[in-house]
């Protein structure tokens, strides 16, 4: 890309994109220093305010960062923790061997809900006793990387809440229930602004982008036995898909 002095696009905006292009192309590398304002002025025959404006914009966008007394550096893309072999079952509650491992503190009973009923393929008019809702954070050294909500029909596990409260082991809760455990699933993955509650769960600014996974898990019979709603911090996590 070359600067075009006859364009209607201001020079500082052209320079801004030129710097980004030089980063994308590897001429300026992540974590390394870029030339000083003065060097850029000379190289490209630009005025100081033009260069300063382009750099200020890119600092604001998080593309560049200024280190006091050192200069201007290409910001480093955050290292994201990769969740290996991610599948629809990776965050299933019913697939857990122990609920202590996720730090689950509470499970609560919630009323039937039209949107959940739809995901569970429960006909709207059919009365039923509602869902167990288990929710827990995905943490790494005290940082919240994601937040999981798992919904399980009370019809399938009538005493799940009481069982967990009394400390019954997961393996005992699941014995004789193998027909109701998830065998496969169909989560839809979208990247979208967080809802307020999600932003609070993840301790991120309101309406930041999240990776949102939602959908049903199926038992061997084909019935939906669990519904997951997961939000993940895209700046901290990535998923390995196979």
């Amino acid at each position: 890309m070359k600067l075009n002095r006859h364009s209607s696009i201001p020079l500082y905006a052209q320079l801004r994109e030129m710097i980004v292009e030089r980063i994308d192309e590897g001429m300026y590398k992540e974590g390394e220093q870029i030339p000083s304002e003065l060097q850029l002025c000379k190289e490209l025959d630009l005025s100081r305010p033009t260069v300063r404006q382009a750099i200020a914009d890119l600092v604001g966008d998080g593309v560049l960062e200024i280190r006091k007394g050192k200069g201007t550096f290409v910001a480093q893309e955050p290292e994201r923790l990769e969740i290996p072999h991610f599948t629809a079952l990776s965050f299933s509650f019913l697939n857990l061997n122990s609920y202590e491992s996720i730090g689950l503190q509470d499970i609560k009973l919630i009323d039937p809900d039209p949107e959940l009923d739809r995901l569970f393929r429960i006909a709207e008019k059919a009365g039923h006793p509602g869902y167990w809702l288990a929710s827990w954070p995905i943490e790494d050294h005290g940082t919240i990387l994601g937040y999981c909500r798992s919904y399980i029909p009370v019809q399938l596990f009538p005493e799940l809440g009481q069982n967990l409260a009394s400390g019954k082991r997961m393996v005992d809760i699941k014995s004789n229930k193998y027909a109701y455990l998830p065998q496969k699933g169909a989560l839809s993955l979208a990247c979208r602004p967080a809802k307020n509650q999600e932003a609070r769960d993840l301790e991120i600014p309101l309406r930041s982008y999240v990776m949102a996974l939602e959908g049903p898990l199926f038992a061997r019979s084909g019935h939906v036995c669990e519904v997951l709603r997961i939000v993940l911090r895209p700046d901290l996590l990535k998923l390995e898909l196979n």
Copy 2:
């Protein structure tokens, strides 16, 4: 949530979050009209400028939209096209039955590149003839939903470019090459701001968020036979993960 008149958070900011909460909780529904400024003033005992500021902020954020002469409505989340049964192989070039189906116009030869060599697990010092780069948009009725780049070692398919240029069919190109076709893969999925070139490929504003998928595909032997770099528009697409 209740408004707190003694808080250091300005009332318009509190009201803004209250409106978002009412949307999240379903009190104000997607696509439906919310109460007028005047009604909100009365209900919550707020001044007109406070209500106006909160609404203006949410219009700017895309949470609300004003329809002239009608009122203020909750914006609808875009309907996203779901790619069913997404796997690491979904966008493999070598797995295609026909390259006409994706509208591929060109394939080019590129030089060895340290980052690609690393993904292909080719030792840095080993000289090799480089890669074929096939790139194509994922389109739906003229809208670009995503953009794929596939890299294939010239060593494995020495005449791929010439074969495509001469109109050789994919099935013939692949005959006797089954040992080099992808059997599985490991794509990492991240959600991050677009690079300039990606934004141009997708025809979206610079540094918009994209879903980025990148990684190797493996032949039966375990060797990497193809590397994919895919960007998808998160406002238009979602992935079904199984």
